[in-house]
């Protein structure tokens, strides 16, 4: 059997194309607003659309839940994703690889930069406690972790990277208002390019729930990690990137 490449959403029967959607319209709840909700659903490709719930939210807004069939087809062969370019290693394998290839501890510097105060991402990767059942990088015997915490200024980060002779700099960005995460990341990578001779910059890695993993060139960083990344993935990547770097 050849693999299916054209699919549709699944409600309770293959090929039924059923989806659910909820949204708010800035109009009072009445017959007109319900008609408007169905019109929106139709324009979004839901046909037939079933308005299963409508409720006034204050005098000026209405909330709707719509179930319906979408007429779109999804072509799996046209989907583009950033595939993991490195093998996943266990903590032991990571330690062994560092010992054998670097012959010293791998130094990782972590921070939240700009005004971002949300350390949850960087802490999940770095703290011993870790994330999703995996211990953080502090747990790895051959990795030295320096976590600068929240609201670190870019010059401070660069200075710390020099002082610690960091092999990799991990930056986490959660706040995305006005694209602060992109602005901050570009500022950070520019500062490192300025402060280090080319090809000597530490590995620059950013993570956060709202990054596009394929934007590395645009942001001037080596790797971008998204939602759900585990410490093991980051450690495996660091080993892959740093040891292949020292080879070349």
């Amino acid at each position: 059997m050849t693999e299916k490449t054209i699919i549709r959403p699944y409600g309770d029967t293959t090929g039924d194309g059923m989806v659910q959607m909820s949204f708010t319209l800035p109009v009072p709840h009445d017959k007109v607003s319900e008609g408007a909700a169905l019109q929106l659903a139709a324009k979004m490709g839901m046909d037939p659309a079933l308005l299963v719930h409508a409720k006034a939210m204050g005098p000026d807004y209405s909330f709707f839940i719509v179930y319906g069939q979408v007429n779109h087809l999804v072509d799996l062969s046209a989907v583009q994703v950033v595939e993991r370019e490195f093998p996943l290693l266990s903590a032991k394998e990571v330690n062994t690889a560092i010992k054998r290839r670097l012959r010293r501890k791998l130094v990782v510097l972590g921070a939240c930069i700009g005004t971002d105060a949300h350390t949850v991402g960087i802490d999940a990767i770095l703290n011993i406690k870790g994330f999703a059942g995996e211990k953080g990088l502090e747990y790895y015997r051959e990795i030295k972790v320096v976590n600068l915490g929240a609201q670190v200024l870019v010059p401070e980060l660069v200075a710390a990277a020099r002082a610690e002779k960091a092999d990799a700099v991990l930056v986490s960005q959660v706040v995305t208002q006005r694209d602060a995460h992109l602005t901050n990341t570009r500022e950070m990578s520019a500062a490192f390019r300025e402060a280090y001779p080319s090809a000597r910059t530490p590995l620059l890695v950013v993570g956060g729930p709202r990054f596009d993993a394929s934007a590395t060139a645009d942001l001037g960083v080596d790797r971008i990690f998204g939602r759900g990344t585990t410490p093991g993935e980051v450690a495996s990547y660091l080993v892959h990137a740093l040891t292949s770097r020292s080879d070349g």
Binding site: S22, F23, T24, K55, M57, G58, Y61, F63, G114, T115, D116, A117, T119, V120, D123, N127, I128, K129, G149, A150, Q151, V175, Q177, R178, A180, P209, R227
Partner: protein
């Protein structure tokens, strides 16, 4: 909040509870001594604000400022501040009769500011009498966070109409590290609006309008934290804010602000809050967002005990202690709901007269909004079952987006359903004397006492500072001579006068 004492549901050993409080006092006392002998640039600026200065950021200290005012022929403090900012004023430390004159002038003007705070407090009490108060506890606490005060206002009013008893205006994330308070109404902020006197005034006026419309006084919350904590507390008192986030160690641990700076600023801001009748909210929920909510549950208890000590020492009363805690246990952990109940009941029973602040799940909100909605429902149920005073409404879109209008409406439906359906269930809820909940609560209390023993056994005169430097809290190491704002800490010189502290500690005039 409610002044009724909550019935005891846990079998806690009173001797262990007493021991925990004794240790917290032992850990806290040297810190208070430190705070009494130091001042900071922000405390001094707060004093000048009480005296009516606005729109400037001088490094002023009270006595030399009033000395310059009396001897330099300046028309008022603001003019002096403006001249000082351009370098046109020479300050000296007055002595003898000049010092006495400067002290009297300073006390008079600062006293006027404190009387304004007193009037604001009376105004609040009068409005609550005339308009009415929140209909029940827990008070429903909702957040607005557009970053634009003119967008925040209609959102806050809408939230009040939908049932919020307390509105918190989230602050721009950068503000904690600004060493000055911005001026005027602001429309630009990252993930929140700047705390400014004008923003405070605008929002309080808008909530006064909606309070009259709804027949219940809607409270306003902001953040007395970061490098300008004492000034922001002062502005909150002057503009009749009702609650302020004000944790004794948050800035140290999570913002890397110098520990001494924080404790000095803390004490002054809490004295202002005490005077202004403001309810403080402490930040214990933050520990559980970085550390594990089961393994580190006792750090919440320790922090609550320290916050209670520092608050009482600064003159706050039980009804003003919105001690924080949170529903952050991984829902995959077996019996997670029973553990949450045990922790929440422990806080309730340790602080029977305080309006505890109950914070919703954030760490285990995965983006699955449907599961998150259920988790928030269970969070609300713990709130109802354990008599929490202030309930921050959980959003199923936590960690996804800034909540949609519909998310907030759905979240409030969740709260209302649980409170209507099970709000009095606490009357029937009595955990078995030797059951899981009782055992767990006692275990956490025991671990809290152990940790306090370790803290007070640290070397040095200020064991708590050593403990903070060692990374005892949240694994973050914060030495007493490092961190942001350290250069703004000064030990009192002989003859140092702080007219505000003198009045606040003397207790007059009310």
């Amino acid at each position: 909040v409610s002044t009724t004492r909550h019935p005891r549901k846990l079998a806690l050993d009173p001797a262990v509870v007493r021991r925990a409080r004794t240790l917290a006092r032992q850990a806290g006392r040297p810190i208070v001594a430190l705070a009494r002998t130091h001042t900071t640039v922000s405390v001094e600026r707060a004093v000048l604000r009480l005296a009516g200065v606005s729109g400037a950021d001088p490094d002023g200290i009270a006595l030399p400022v009033w000395d310059a005012l009396l001897t330099g022929g300046h028309s008022d403090l603001t003019e002096l501040a403006q001249k000082a900012a351009t370098g046109g004023v020479e300050f000296r430390i007055p002595e003898g009769r000049d010092a006495a004159r400067a002290t009297r002038a300073a006390s008079r003007q600062v006293g006027a500011g404190i009387r304004t705070i007193d009037r604001r407090r009376q105004e609040r009490e009068r409005m609550i009498r005339r308009i009415g108060d929140a209909p029940r506890t827990p008070w429903i606490y909702l957040i607005v966070a557009t970053g634009d005060i003119y967008e925040d206002i209609p959102q806050a009013q809408a939230a009040a109409r939908e049932g919020a008893d307390v509105i918190a205006v989230i602050r721009s994330t950068g503000q904690s590290l600004l060493d000055y308070v911005p001026e005027g109404a602001t429309r630009e902020g990252y993930a929140g609006a700047y705390a400014t006197q004008e923003n405070f005034r605008l929002m309080r006026a808008a909530l006064d309008d909606v309070s009259r419309e709804l027949g219940r006084y809607v409270r306003l919350t902001n953040y007395a934290s970061g490098l300008c904590m004492p000034e922001i507390a002062t502005l909150a008192g002057l503009e009749r804010l009702d609650m302020m986030l004000n944790d004794s160690m948050y800035g140290i641990l999570f913002r890397d602000i110098n520990p001494v700076r924080t404790f000095v600023d803390q004490r002054f801001s809490r004295q202002i809050h005490a005077r202004a009748g403001i309810i403080i909210n402490t930040g214990e929920d933050n520990y559980l967002t970085t550390a594990d909510a089961v393994d580190e549950a006792h750090t919440v208890t320790v922090s609550q005990l320290l916050n209670e000590f520092f608050a009482k020492e600064a003159g706050l009363e039980n009804w003003q202690l919105g001690l924080g805690h949170a529903f952050e246990i991984n829902p995959e952990v077996p019996d997670s709901f029973r553990l949450e109940l045990a922790h929440a009941l422990l806080a309730r029973q340790l602080f029977p007269d305080a309006p505890l602040k109950w914070m919703p799940p954030t760490k285990h909100m995965t983006g699955d909004v449907f599961r998150g909605y259920l988790l928030d429902g269970f969070f609300n149920l713990v709130g109802a079952l354990t008599g929490q005073g202030i309930l921050l409404v959980g959003m199923m879109t936590e960690a996804v987006v800034t909540p949609f209008l519909s998310d907030r409406d759905l979240a409030l439906q969740n709260v209302r359903y649980v409170l209507d359906a099970a709000g009095k269930l606490h009357e029937d809820f009595h955990p078995a004397p030797n059951g899981f909940i009782n055992r767990r609560a006692n275990q956490v209390l025991g671990e809290a006492v152990d940790l306090l023993e370790r803290i007070t056994a640290e070397p040095g005169d200020t064991a708590l500072l050593s403990a903070i430097a060692d990374g005892t809290f949240g694994l973050m190491k914060r030495p007493a001579d490092a961190g942001k704002g350290f250069d703004g800490v000064v030990e009192h010189a002989p003859g140092y006068v702080n007219p505000a502290t003198d009045i606040l500690e003397g207790g007059k005039p009310r």
